[in-house]
């Protein structure tokens, strides 16, 4: 197993993550990455910044379970997940998921599956700051629908 799962305040480097997925890995011909960033508009509101809270004792365990489930479903090489917490500015990176595999179909499916499960199961909560104060982000039914589609 070549898994790296981190929850951290500091930013991450896609360059380093990609290198860690690729180096000395001649058996995997496919690498899929997902990066999520803070965008300016969310659910119709103009965002200035956001704060990410999590449940530290549970977060890592939950992400490990999601990766284990992905490894049961697909033939995967390396899996790397980073999720940031704390205060984030517009355009900042929030989350990274990278998967290597022999086959691109497995890499695509596993990367999307991990994101869909992370979105609906991992204990993170976003609070958005706008010109009109701040508010907790509401969960989206669409995210639950996407996660349920993997069952």
């Amino acid at each position: 197993m070549h898994d790296h799962i981190a929850i951290q305040e500091q930013d991450f480097s896609l360059t380093q993550e990609y290198q860690a997925l690729r180096e000395a890995n001649l058996q995997d011909g496919a690498i899929v990455t997902f990066s999520g960033t803070v965008r300016d508009l969310n659910q119709g509101k103009r965002i200035q910044s956001l704060t990410l809270e999590h449940y530290p004792a549970m977060t890592l365990k939950c992400l490990q379970q999601i990766v284990a489930e992905a490894r049961n479903r697909w033939q995967l090489g390396r899996v790397r997940i980073i999720h940031r917490v704390g205060r984030l500015a517009l355009g900042d990176q929030i989350v990274f998921v990278g998967v290597s595999s022999r086959h691109r179909g497995d890499a695509f499916a596993a990367c999307e599956f991990i994101m869909d499960y992370l979105k609906t199961r991992a204990p993170f909560w976003k609070k958005e700051q706008t010109g009109n104060g701040e508010h907790w982000v509401e969960a989206k039914a669409e995210d639950q629908r996407k996660a349920d589609a993997w069952k």
Partner: protein
């Protein structure tokens, strides 16, 4: 004893981050009902479907049994990623 944690909006509206309670509850649903009796905000925001529960850091349905020493958490639907 059971340790009960509240996160995010739930922590803010209840004005409560954590509780220590004697383990008088058969399952997560029993604990949830007891907490909902604490007041209108508790009634509203701990209602099943409104908040999720976890037992020992794993998402749990209301029929999951509780034991002395468990860590329980209640929180709103998650919004990470």
């Amino acid at each position: 004893m059971i340790r009960v944690l509240f996160f995010a909006r739930l922590r803010e509206v209840l004005g409560c981050e954590s509780l220590e309670l004697p383990c008088d509850f058969y399952d997560l649903g029993g604990l949830r009902q007891a907490l909902m009796a604490r007041g209108p905000d508790w009634q509203e925001f701990l209602a099943p479907g409104t908040s999720l529960g976890a037992v020992n850091q794993t998402l749990a349905k209301d029929d999951v049994p509780l034991q002395d020493g468990d860590e329980v958490a209640f929180f709103p639907p998650v919004t990470g990623g």
